[in-house]
């Protein structure tokens, strides 16, 4: 488990508080995307650039639902370590990394990442880095329901190639 001192930031416009410099969460239902981004932007008003990525369940043909399972003792600590790495590597002012678990339906958010940095290239690369790692190096297992039948999904070869870019 990563240890650090946290300070909680609350903005006038955002009803939601986020922790700084890293806010890492596993959510078992819903995701307040708009509020999270508003709170993040407000928390890092001095950052020159803020990048966000929102991943949603694609209504892919006959996909009815998607389920993500995780392993509590590893998944969140792994996301925290990943976020620390991204912060150090890209000199981030801060990052937000939120991931859903459980059953989601098409259009629902799966993952929200936001990065704040002095320069835009760092913010872009950090968000890209976080997503590539969440996609193929975080402790999640995914299955899809099509025509009433659940099927486990394996990481795509492309996901591993994406990850290799950072090595």
């Amino acid at each position: 488990m990563v240890t650090r001192s946290r300070c909680y930031l609350r903005s006038a416009v955002a009803r939601l508080s986020i922790s700084s410099p890293l806010d890492v969460r596993l959510l078992d239902k819903g995701m307040s995307v708009g509020e999270a981004l508003a709170a993040f932007n407000a928390a890092y008003s001095e950052a020159g650039g803020v990048v966000s990525f929102l991943g949603k369940v694609r209504p892919d043909g006959d996909v009815q639902a998607l389920e993500l399972s995780h392993y509590e003792p590893l998944t969140l600590p792994g996301m925290e370590k990943l976020s620390e790495n991204a912060r150090a590597r890209f000199s981030l002012d801060g990052a937000l990394v939120w991931h859903r678990t459980g059953v989601m339906t098409p259009g629902e958010p799966i993952v929200l990442v936001a990065t704040a940095a002095r320069h835009r290239r760092n913010a872009f690369e950090a968000a890209d880095y976080l997503m590539d790692h969440l996609k193929s190096a975080a402790w999640f297992w995914k299955r899809e329901k099509r025509r009433g039948t659940w099927r486990w999904i394996e990481a795509r070869p492309q996901d591993h190639l994406d990850l290799d870019r950072w090595k």
């Binding site: 399972s69 392993y71 590893l74 969440l134 193929s136 999640f140 990481a155």
Partner: protein
């Protein structure tokens, strides 16, 4: 108490259960024989990891689980 074995992701379907508790202590050979041939074959796959007490083992064959330990069998991830 014994040793609790968790089957994560697709292993759950192969095992037909989410977890099982077996007698302690448990080493690599003991695990292979406890889980049955189908799961045992999966455990040999390089990309399948094993965690004991919340830590992923660098060398899974070095497993030594004591009474009260939790073992997680972790197939290749397919996250986000």
């Amino acid at each position: 108490m014994g040793v609790r074995i968790l089957f994560l992701g697709p292993l759950q379907d192969l095992a037909g259960e989410a977890e099982r508790t077996v007698a302690a202590p448990l080493d690599w050979a003991g695990l292979l024989s406890e889980v049955g041939p189908v799961i045992a074959e999966q455990l040999q796959v390089e990309r399948l990891n094993i965690a004991c007490g919340g830590r992923v083992l660098a060398d899974k064959t070095s497993l030594v689980a004591e009474d009260g330990d939790e073992i997680a069998l972790l197939p290749p991830v397919s996250g986000g």
